[in-house]
């Protein structure tokens, strides 16, 4: 008996390991999709390697960042967090631990809820179906963690509640953005399903009040060519992280920075930027291997069941419709974020945020495009500075609610700095009521 229960125990533990659990899910998906056996095996293993890489990349992110925040926090009582979707991924992967294996199921439930809501769109008013697999996984794991942390229910109940919440977010946030995307793309036939679609809708409501898009279209400007450096993800993460880490560590003084780094401070800050960029490339590669075929599979399901749905895709789709406005949006969101961080310093906030590249480029850029379409250049400047303040202060709010103080950070994107912390407050209330 002892041997048998030991074997059963071992099998159970193996099945509960996140990598195996998600791998199995993908494997079943391939078998149901009638893929040839070679594809079933190679696809499943690639996915599992991808998941392992995401976990590894997340830890690596932590290892790069943690010694620094510890030093700054010991010296000044201020704890620093990174505001970037990849920081949230790292935080919630760590926080979930073994429960991470449930993320795939949360995703499936959410997709199902999204499809059902759109299927009955006549009654529910939902139109958008989220196809952005990489973001979808991040949403699923973050909401699963918040549900687990605040409601304290069993894993099945948590999984279902999280799936429903994520599905509702997908269906309605993407539907809100349908009109603004139509206007920006002149009927391009898609909406945004990413992390800032509610923000796009929000800004479209008043971006037209600040100017005339016909008289001051950003596309008539000649922007300096060097700004295109920031189009390159590998370079821009390194440059921005060197700058922001330098600013963040500045209160320690040169000697303090050299004490942590163990080498010349300039060299150390540059190396740090490069290290962050490497962490990001590891995470990106992992996510790509993990979600590689997700988009195609879910696009197929959407076309079969709800062919008239509006596909909700990555926000980058908006940027080529107005490249200059996107660049200006990034520049002014970055400036506004530096201002907002200055205010956090001045009022002595115990939580300090360091902006990653994604909230600045992919929310800032997209809001720039929207603002330009509705109100021209002046509108870009005003809307992006407002955006920077909302994202920065909202992320401080979200971090105070993330229930995992040792995490590296939280997504700094508009929806995750406004609506999601709002929902988290409700979860917290309900959690207090049932306990």
């Amino acid at each position: 008996m002892g041997v048998l229960s030991a074997i059963l125990d071992a099998i159970y533990n193996l099945l509960m390991a996140p990598v195996v659990m998600m791998g199995l899910l993908v494997c079943i998906g391939y078998i149901l999709g009638k893929k040839p056996p070679v594809k079933v095996i190679t696809g499943t293993i690639s996915t599992m390697v991808g998941i392992q890489m995401v976990i590894f990349g997340g830890n690596q992110f932590s290892n790069t960042f943690k010694p620094i925040t510890t030093a700054v926090s010991e010296a000044f009582g201020i704890t620093g967090y990174i505001m970037d979707p990849y920081a949230m991924r790292s935080t919630t992967t760590e926080a979930l631990g073994d429960l991470f294996g449930l993320v795939g199921y949360v995703y499936l439930i959410a997709f199902l809820v999204n499809i059902v809501l759109v299927y009955f769109g006549k009654y529910t008013k939902a139109k958008g179906v989220l196809l952005t697999g990489n973001s979808g996984v991040a949403h699923s794991q973050a909401i699963l963690w918040l549900v687990v942390a605040y409601l304290g229910l069993g894993s099945t109940a948590s999984m279902i509640i999280a799936g429903i919440l994520v599905g509702l977010y997908w269906a309605y946030s993407t539907t809100l953005a349908v009109n603004v995307c139509d206007k920006v793309t002149d009927g391009g036939g898609f909406t945004i399903g990413h992390n800032q679609q509610i923000g796009l809708w929000f800004f479209s409501k008043f971006a037209g009040k600040f100017g005339d898009p016909k008289k001051s279209d950003a596309e008539n400007l000649n922007l300096p060519g060097w700004l295109s450096i920031f189009n390159n993800n590998v370079a821009s993460v390194a440059i921005l992280m060197t700058l922001f880490m330098g600013l963040y560590m500045a209160p320690l003084g040169i000697s303090g920075i050299e004490e942590i780094g163990g080498e010349n401070w300039i060299l150390y800050l540059i190396t740090l930027g490069i290290e962050f960029s490497m962490d990001m490339v590891i995470l990106l590669t992992g996510v790509r291997m993990m979600c590689g075929e997700l988009v195609g599979a879910f696009k197929g399901i959407q076309e079969k069941i709800v062919p008239n749905a509006v596909p909700a895709i990555d926000v980058a789709a908006l940027l080529p419709f107005s490249p200059n406005a996107a660049t200006l949006g990034f520049v002014f969101t970055t400036l506004g974020t530096v201002l907002a961080i200055g205010i956090l310093y001045l009022i002595g906030s115990p939580i300090m945020v360091l902006p990653g590249f994604i909230p600045l480029f992919f929310t800032g850029g997209a809001v720039g495009v929207v603002a330009n379409k509705y109100g021209g250049i002046k509108s870009i400047v005003i809307c992006c500075i407002i955006l920077a303040f909302i994202q920065t202060f909202g992320t401080v709010w979200a971090i105070s609610l993330m229930k995992y103080p040792s995490g590296v950070g939280w997504s700094g994107m508009f929806d995750w700095a406004t609506v999601i912390p709002g929902v988290t407050e409700i979860l917290k209330l309900i959690g207090n009521l049932i306990h």
């Binding site: 450096i229 189009n231 993800n233 895709i313 980058a316 940027l319 080529p320 419709f321 490249p323 992919f362």
Partner: protein
């Protein structure tokens, strides 16, 4: 060199969102007009590691300033990444001139 299959690389900012979905809609459209190809997607910062593989690079118009690619590759600028038919037509134009064996299907 005869080439009856072209390799198309989709490039976006992070190489996972818009390039991935574009790859899906464009491959479908390419199949409809009988162009045989293989597709992959990546991020701008990692694009150079695919130069040996790719024949045609389809890249978001937001990202085209200041980049240079090897002479033997062909670049296509994309505005609406969901417009599979239009992008497929752009690819066909290039293919007809440089890779005629990949057009028409066999």
């Amino acid at each position: 060199m005869k080439k009856d299959k072209i390799n198309v690389l989709f490039v976006c900012g992070y190489g996972m969102g818009s390039s991935a979905i574009s790859e899906v809609v464009v491959s479908k459209a390419l199949k409809e007009i009988n162009i045989s190809c293989e597709v992959k997607h990546t991020a701008l910062g990692e694009m150079s590691s695919y130069y040996n593989w790719a024949d045609i690079i389809a890249i978001s118009k937001k990202l085209t300033t200041g980049i240079s690619i090897p002479e033997e590759l062909h670049m296509i600028e994309v505005v609406n990444i969901m417009d599979g038919k239009r992008i497929a037509a752009q690819i066909k134009e290039v293919a007809e001139v440089y890779y005629p064996d990949a057009v028409g299907g066999k």
